[in-house]
């Protein structure tokens, strides 16, 4: 087994562990932190089913962002939608036999990669062109876009410029999943692509990528508007009642 194979295998195990346990811990931490007051941004749904629908609209349509700014919505939606398709398409490297959904997504996922890169380009352009967004952008905001863009471009490179041996890639990935490590193909673009993906997985729980789980724990979005009908009180605040 080559050193490269061992390195990449270890890298992916570590990145996966950090992603799963890191995000898992963050979700646990959000869940255990009380929200002592009812603070939904109103008008808000009055039932839990209504709240689920509100969150669904936020996740699937980016409803609030759409109200806020059309350009950011267009680029953001393009990027996230395309990323979702690309991720589904990548299912084929992990499944045998490949699921029908993943199979159906293959042609879309392929072109979605272009949309993803375009969306990222638009988002990045805003960080330079809009003075307000330029003011609030930190180095990490730029690096995050660079990272995602590099992942997209190396991925496209393997499809449209210099093909990589995807049979070997799949072999390696499935080997990882069954703890039966197979040789890592030594293609520089592939190595770069996978290294960047592992980096993204690693920084997920310590970066602004936490916006993904965060949305579900946002009290202004996930609370029902029913404070007169149902008393709502957190554990630490309930202690004040006993005084």
């Amino acid at each position: 087994m080559s050193l490269l194979t061992i390195l990449y295998a270890c890298m992916f195990y570590a990145a996966t562990a950090i992603l799963v346990f890191g995000v898992g811990y963050k979700i646990y931490d959000y869940a255990r932190t009380p929200a002592p007051l009812k603070i939904p941004t109103t008008p808000a749904p009055t039932t839990n089913a209504g709240v689920a629908f509100r969150l669904f609209r936020e996740v699937v349509f980016f409803e609030s962002l759409f109200k806020a700014t059309k350009w950011t919505w267009i680029f953001g939606y393009l990027f996230h939608g395309a990323l979702a398709l690309v991720l589904i398409r990548h299912g084929r490297y992990f499944q045998d036999p490949v699921w029908t959904l993943v199979d159906l997504a293959q042609p879309f996922g392929l072109y979605a990669a272009f949309a993803m890169v375009a969306g990222l380009g638009g988002l990045w352009a805003r960080r330079f062109l809009v003075d307000r967004v330029r003011y609030i952008s930190t180095l990490s905001d730029h690096l995050m876009l660079a990272l995602l863009l590099a992942i997209g471009l190396t991925g496209l490179g393997m499809k449209f410029v210099a093909h990589t041996d995807i049979v070997s890639v799949k072999n390696f990935m499935q080997g990882l999943m069954s703890f039966n490590i197979q040789p890592m193909p030594e293609d520089p673009i592939l190595l770069a692509h996978l290294f960047l993906v592992a980096t993204l997985m690693t920084i997920f729980p310590i970066s602004k990528l936490l916006h993904a789980p965060g949305l579900f724990f946002s009290p202004s979005r996930n609370q029902a508007d029913n404070p007169r009908e149902h008393r709502y009180v957190s554990a630490w605040a309930a202690k004040l009642d006993q005084k």
Binding site: T69, D131, P219, R231
Partner: protein
């Protein structure tokens, strides 16, 4: 009006987002509370010695107690959706008045002390140590936020800067840096019973004077009872309603409505204040102590219903928090709350907004209305921020927009809404809410009113609007003060129940 020392923004035909002007409002510093004011509300009198450590400890404490604070500090991606939504940014161009940048003042310190990336790669993620300079910026800019929640409407994750501002102010208070205006009032309301520090006898005098005025005006003896045990309704209203213009016109309106509906009611000298400034500083226990006065008064007076007058943040606290804080509503199980639940009439929501109350009477035809009495007025409606985005009226979401407008249309013939992007959930704050309504912040107040003034200017030009109705004591006081800066007459400002008062036709009690 003394000549202002700053430039009044020009009203434009088409509102434009200003270019970023760093530090345009860095010179603004609200008067700080003196040691006696601080100590009266349980905070250190001056900046404590180990303030940096204490502030970080307090931040850790709040991170454990408030999910909003924790999630909002993590979730922001700097997308910029909020950057052109704050009225203070639109009026000043100071980038630290963009919601995301206002949050960033605390977020950068949070990152430094509570996150892996900020501890080890501070430059990369914009993490900062808590220096005196950073602390001063907290004070400057957390007292240039009215906690109006407009940014939270547009944030893709619902990040509410009001929560961050409250946390910032609570941390500042805990290390001895408080705002004079807010904390002085917090002392008065807890010591005397209302924000103005109006003692019981003065209140009696005022109410008697108003009764005489109404009788002279209408020939009908309308009562404004105080501390009357066994009344049906306890009215909790902002103390400004007792003597400020135009607030008092709405108080007269409520009295006339109660009179004609034949429902007995009372004010309470112990709880002669709807406003709860505990919200402004985000301090749960202070907010609870102030809310307890209402429960005490309701139990003491034996009322069947609790109704809240025209007051924005007050209605948010009453509607959204009273049940949680002190069990006014359904479901609490401490002895006093249970006693209250048994006492209150379950057919009505507790608490109820005066607009919900009046709207119901109007719909049922209980009130005799002559709409033409308001024909000299061409009316628009200013949605108050905390009513719009932090509460509800009636049974359906958005009732807080519908009900006041329906009342206006039932008592007046001429009504025109302002532009859609400036009303309802997208309404602009008056510029004086959340602890900003003080003369030492007049520059912030005038500039922060710009978006509302531009929207008003349009309906003034297009429809000759000459009356802006509203349901908030702070909005009324703020517009009264700042509208002349923009060339509008302060008589344009008034309450929804002022319109009701004008249109209602009283008949002597039988």
């Amino acid at each position: 009006m003394a000549a202002p020392t700053f430039e009044i923004p020009k009203l434009k035909d088409v509102s434009v987002v200003p270019a970023v002007q760093p530090d345009a409002m860095a010179h603004i510093k609200s008067f700080q509370a003196s040691a006696p004011i601080q100590e009266a509300v349980g905070f250190p009198g001056q900046l404590v010695d180990n303030w940096e450590q204490k502030a970080i400890e307090k931040m850790g404490d709040l991170l454990g107690k408030y999910r909003s604070f924790k999630v909002y500090l993590d979730a922001c991606v700097h997308c910029g959706a909020c950057t052109d939504k704050c009225h203070y940014f639109l009026g000043t161009g100071d980038p630290k008045n963009m919601p995301v940048a206002r949050q960033e003042l605390i977020r950068s310190v949070y990152r430094r002390h509570f996150t892996f990336a900020g501890k080890y790669f501070p430059k990369l993620v914009g993490a900062k140590d808590l220096t005196k300079d950073v602390l001063d910026q907290w004070y400057n800019y957390y007292y240039q936020c009215s906690e109006c929640r407009r940014c939270s409407v547009f944030c893709p994750y619902g990040i509410d800067t009001a929560e961050i501002t409250m946390a910032g102010r609570e941390i500042l208070d805990s290390i001895g840096v408080g705002q004079k205006y807010t904390n002085e009032i917090l002392g008065k309301v807890q010591r005397i019973g209302n924000n103005l520090g109006l003692p019981g006898p003065a209140l009696t005098d005022t109410l008697e004077g108003l009764e005489e005025d109404i009788e002279a005006d209408t020939g009908v003896a309308v009562r404004l009872p105080l501390d009357q045990k066994g009344a049906e309704v306890l009215l909790i209203t902002p103390s400004a309603d007792f003597f400020s213009e135009p607030h008092v016109e709405s108080l007269i309106g409520y009295a006339k409505v109660f009179h004609q509906a034949g429902i007995s009611w009372t004010l309470s000298s112990h709880a002669a204040e709807a406003g709860n400034f505990g919200l402004f500083i985000g301090n749960y226990e202070t907010m609870r102590n102030i809310a307890l006065r209402i429960r005490d008064a309701a139990l003491e007076l034996g009322v069947k219903r609790i109704i809240v007058g025209e007051c924005g943040h007050a209605w948010r606290v009453a509607y959204s928090f009273w049940n949680t804080l002190v069990g006014i509503g359904a479901g609490a199980n401490d002895p006093f709350a249970i006693q209250l639940q048994q006492q209150l009439d379950p057919r009505y929501p507790a608490p109820q907004h005066i607009c919900e109350f009046t709207y119901d009477l109007l719909q049922r035809g209980v009130l005799t209305i002559d709409k033409s009495a308001n024909d000299h007025r061409i009316v628009t409606f200013h949605d108050s921020c905390n009513v719009s985005r932090g509460s509800r009226m009636g049974d359906m979401p958005g009732g807080q927009f519908v009900i006041p407008r329906e009342i206006i249309k039932m008592v007046a013939n001429n009504f025109h809404d302002m532009a859609a992007e400036t009303i309802n959930e997208s309404t602009f704050c008056c510029g004086g809410g959340g602890g900003i309504l003080t003369d030492d912040l007049i520059e912030v107040r005038v500039k922060g009113a710009l978006p509302r003034m531009e929207a008003l200017n349009h309906v003034v030009k297009d429809h000759k609007v000459n009356f802006m109705a509203m349901i908030c004591a702070i909005c009324k006081a703020q517009f009264n003060k700042v509208m002349p800066f923009y060339g509008f007459d302060m008589s344009m400002v008034g309450g929804v129940h002022q319109l009701v008062s004008t249109a209602i036709q009283l008949s002597p009690k039988e």
